[in-house]
Amino acid sequence: MNLERLPNNEKLSLCRKYYLGGFAFLPFLWLVNVVWFFKEAFLKPAYTEQLQIKTYVKRSGLGLLLWVAVLTTWITIFQHFRAEWGVVADYLSFTIPLGIP
């Protein structure tokens, strides 16, 4: 969808939908929000709705950073300690690699 063609109020409502949707454990919606509306929020000349859009984009960015931090930490720990955790790790895994501990 080309944002150029949308009226400003529709841009705002779209940004708000993605922002609210991200709270349902969907950090990729926040990522899309940040990437898509970055130009609108920070690089375009000012218009009425831009302030709201800017807030949404900033908050989406923060939420995204938080998710990235949490997921990176958990993935690193799990990959490192999976072999040592034995039973628990096997029950947490979807795919257990063959032939290595």
Partner: protein, 688 residues
């Protein structure tokens, strides 16, 4: 073998329909070493999932190991060993520096080395009867080391593949020879081995991962328990629906083991280790058939052939467990005594040794035990043999009797050809074959003539079988006057030895099995216990062969037709509960004396030989065998030429350069398209 000419020819042959066929030469008849796991360890070999590639290096001596391990400039290396170099010291050195080693291949030899046993020095030391609480001074081979030549290679863990292949050194001599200490030039001959094993760590882990298949998106069984079926038969039949204790029943048991193993997967023979024992017991059972019908002894006699004994007594521990839990036709209180036939093929002169457990003789009612012992001694005295009692303090060798003693104090004796250490120099190894038993046939004999020829080995085993049969008959309270009539048949023994050690597909074996099972005899019988199956119809060919042998040697031929043989309950005199009815081929039509197929009625059955640890779910059990075998996808080996790393990088670099330059040229042409293509253009004529 692969010559340079072949490889060049393959590369130049434009009619080859695949690039892969031009590059790789598949190696046939490979025998891998696979991964086995138990409660605490994993043993065996593992390759990476996409195979291990290494430049072939033929090892000339132990000192030559320096080249692949440290000095050689083209790591990783694939070491090719002659069989005399396949020793513990070399393998341990390779294991330590395994970063430069892709794998090891061992050349299959034509003759056996002077001695080689990859098993441990003290077989089954943790699952026998001797432990810290029972005869601690005898545990862990403190007094007698049974297998002193054992180097323990079978129980080591290697993280590179080890294969056994036929001799194939031409490619090495053409490309890889080290000349005057200087490194050979590329291209070099390399070999790639695939033997990726799925299971890791230990049995508990792999069985758990088997069970997790419900939740995983990638369900895959990773290992299977080892096991098979025991064969047992008795003089007087037992009603198989009546399990557990039988009142006033006292059974004399005779036991032998069926299986053996080797370092490599599925190639063991166990001529002295197990064949000598069970062939003797089969011959003894045959010798007892007639006399027990004419003058039946007081007690019943039960013959048991255990599978899986090499792996912590799988078969015998299962039978003892079944007896303890009322799942077998008798229980331990019904067992009068046990005579086990150990390794009896390599006797010095005519010596035969009786082994018994000194601890049980001390603890129990001394008179009772001594009397049983003396009864055995008297039973076994035979003109030609010197029967030697072992010393009072000598422990039992590794034997199924140990599992019975673990459960209950049963008088028992193990018959063997060795007083202390084994006479067998190739215990549980690939070389424990017909040569080890000195099985020799005169030259220029056809297979049928060899089948009937009475070898010295067969005569020796026949003598032992006679002794065993007479001892069992007297032990079971048989009539003393009949004992001298009991004689084992040497023709049966020599035919069995020929069938198990030389060629299974012979006329005698064919006559004993059902016509539809003829394929069972096509390969050499395989004595490795293998993974357990759930139904007796899928038991190993060796087990089924012993079942049919025992049935034919102890059972009776009947007049039943094939349909009646399959459903004998319709007839008033026959009962499937008491006997098993087997339809066998009979002698093939020969010289007009056509016997044709007939129905054998025998009290011979198969009982499952799966370790109780798997039924109980105790995968980390210390009491029972927990051996499992890993699964794998495919196992293969292939040889090809490799280029130097520099050449590979150069080719890649040139390719990348060509890619970028073509992108550049395309971009350039597209931006200047109007300049490049406008000069020849004519004004478009609008002609429609």
């Amino acid at each position: 073998s692969v010559t340079t000419r072949d490889l060049k020819k393959i590369t130049l042959d434009v009619n080859s329909n695949s690039v892969a066929q031009k590059i790789y030469v598949e190696v046939n008849n490979t025998v891998p070493c696979v991964r086995l796991l138990n409660a605490t360890h994993q043993i065996g070999c593992q390759s990476s999932i996409s195979g291990d590639t290494g430049v072939i290096h033929v090892l000339e001596s132990e000192a030559d190991l320096e080249w692949p391990l440290t000095k050689g400039p083209n790591p990783p290396y694939m070491i090719l060993l002659e069989s005399h170099l396949f020793t513990r010291s070399i393998m341990m050195k390779i294991k330590k520096e395994s970063s430069r080693i892709a794998g090891v291949t061992v050349v299959v030899p034509n003759t056996s080395p002077s001695e080689f046993s990859p098993h441990t020095t003290c077989p089954n030391e943790n699952t026998g009867v001797y432990s810290d609480t029972y005869g601690p001074h005898l545990a862990h081979c403190n007094t007698t080391v049974w297998n002193p030549l054992g180097n323990g290679l079978s129980y080591e863990e290697f993280d590179f593949p080890v294969f056994s292949l036929k001799e194939d050194k031409q490619c090495y001599y053409d490309h890889n020879r080290v000349v005057n200490g200087s490194a050979p030039q590329y291209p070099l001959c390399a070999m790639q081995l695939f033997s990726h094993m799925f299971a890791v760590t230990d049995t508990a882990t792999c069985m758990r991962r088997n069970d997790v298949i419900n939740f995983s998106i990638n369900p895959e069984m990773v290992c299977d328990p080892l096991g098979d079926f025991n064969v047992w038969g008795s003089i007087r039949p037992y009603n198989r629906s009546q399990l557990g204790h039988r009142d006033n029943e006292s059974v004399v048991m005779a036991a032998a083991r069926l299986d053996s193993r080797a370092f490599f997967w599925d190639v063991s023979t166990g001529a002295e280790g197990s064949i000598s024992g069970f062939v003797t017991l089969l011959a003894a059972a045959h010798a007892l058939r007639d006399v027990t019908q004419v003058a039946p002894p007081t007690h019943n006699i039960l013959f048991a052939f255990f599978q899986g004994e090499a792996f912590d007594y799988i078969g015998s521990s299962r039978m003892v467990y079944d007896m303890q839990n009322g799942k077998f036709v008798i229980d331990l209180d019904n067992v009068h005594s046990l005579l086990e036939i150990g390794q009896v093929g390599l006797r010095n002169g005519s010596d035969l040794f009786l082994h018994s457990d000194p601890v049980s003789r001390m603890n129990d009612t001394v008179n009772d035990q001594v009397r049983e012992h003396e009864r055995y001694r008297c039973s076994l005295i035979h003109r030609h043999h010197r029967l030697v009692d072992n010393f009072q303090s000598s422990p039992l060798p590794p034997s199924s009797l140990q599992r019975f003693l673990r459960a209950q104090n049963i008088p028992g004796i193990v018959l063997a050809d060795h007083r202390a250490a084994f006479n067998n120099k190739y215990y549980e190894s690939y070389y424990d074959n017909a040569d080890n038993l000195n099985l020799r046939y005169p030259p220029n004999m056809t297979a049928e003539e060899q089948l009937e020829f009475l070898t010295d080995t067969a005569m020796a085993l026949t003598e032992v079988a006679t002794v065993v049969a007479r001892a069992l008959y007297k032990q079971a309270g048989g009539d003393g006057t009949q004992v001298d009539n009991i004689k084992a048949d040497s023709k049966t023994v020599t035919q069995m030895l020929f069938g198990f050690l030389v060629q299974a597909n012979n006329s005698w074996f064919q006559a004993l099995i059902p016509p539809e099972l003829k394929d069972m005899l096509s390969d050499p019988p395989d004595f490795y216990v293998g993974v357990a199956s759930s139904s007796p119809a899928k038991a190993k060919p060796l087990t089924r062969l012993v079942q049919f042998l025992l049935a034919n040697l102890t059972g009776t031929a009947t007049n039943l037709t094939q349909d009646q043989c399959q459903k004998p309950d319709d007839l008033p005199d026959e009962s499937v509960q008491m006997y098993s009815y087997l339809w066998v081929q009979g002698t093939v039509p020969h010289n007009g004396t056509e016997k044709g197929p007939f129905c054998v009625r025998a009290s011979v059955r198969l009982s499952q030989a799966l370790s109780p640890a798997f039924d109980l779910g105790e995968y980390a059990s210390r009491n029972y065998s927990t051996w499992t075998e890993s699964r794998w996808k495919f196992i293969k080996a292939r040889i090809f030429l490799v280029a130097s790393r520099d050449l590979e990088m150069l080719t890649l670099g040139v390719g990348v350069a060509v890619l970028f330059s073509s992108l550049l040229v395309t971009y350039f042409i597209s931006t200047k398209a109007d300049v490049l293509f406008s000069s020849a253009r004519e004004p478009a004529s609008a002609a429609y």
